[in-house]
Subunit: 117 residues, 2 copies
Amino acid sequence: METMSPRALPHPATDEITLAAVLHALSDPVRLRIATMLADGHGDMACIAFDLPVTKSTTTHHFRVLREAGVIAQHYQGTSKMSTLRREDLEALFPGVLTSVLNAARGAQTGEAAHPA
Amino acid sequence: METMSPRALPHPATDEITLAAVLHALSDPVRLRIATMLADGHGDMACIAFDLPVTKSTTTHHFRVLREAGVIAQHYQGTSKMSTLRREDLEALFPGVLTSVLNAARGAQTGEAAHPA
DNA sequence: CCTTTAGTACGACAGGCTTCGTAGTACGGC
DNA sequence: GCCGTACTACGAAGCCTGTCGTACTAAAGG
């Protein structure tokens, strides 16, 4: 039996995720950064540990937008909340989208173009 | 010499295109539809011919957002304005992003998930 | 039980977005 | 030269977003 935390977190079902919502969620610099960090193996990191240029309230807001768009999954672990990318779901729905976006974001933080030399 | 139309259209240079702006441009249902139609070979079509569920003014607005984000290139041809996707530029900057997004949009117009039977 | 830590809820505020209508400009055809 | 077509500019309305601060709740640890 799971401990069944009283703090439930609503996630959209796989077939409720829309492309427009995912793209919108990823079109914000802060959220793009969160997604990139999650992809880079920071999956077991509390929300507060992301060192974002916004306050705690705003951080909560952005994590929620990502979750409600279906980009990330979240679950509580003590007082902390852990987030993971919904890679499989998104890959099944929109093949290649998440991967290529994260790749692009990594090479060009938040928007800078890739100027090779 | 080109006829040098007095109606110039400002386009961002390749290295001015940002990922966030591109994602934002594509996160609107109307614009996603425009991009999909352009990808499907309607490159030589006037803006007005796109049969969008908005007025002419709004259509102009959306085409401009796409152009200013670097997603499309536009040029006048008589009284009409032709648009084409900046596939090469985007592929060079953000490999796979445009292609996978368009693919996803085609299979799931504007956001619906792909329910195979 | 009390304190600390992590995150939430709520309200507020500024700014942006999408939409529209109307008026105006550029081009092509008669 | 005149008219129609395609697009633009401008302003307005309504909504949504990102940001914050403050007050609150849930869990962990002594």
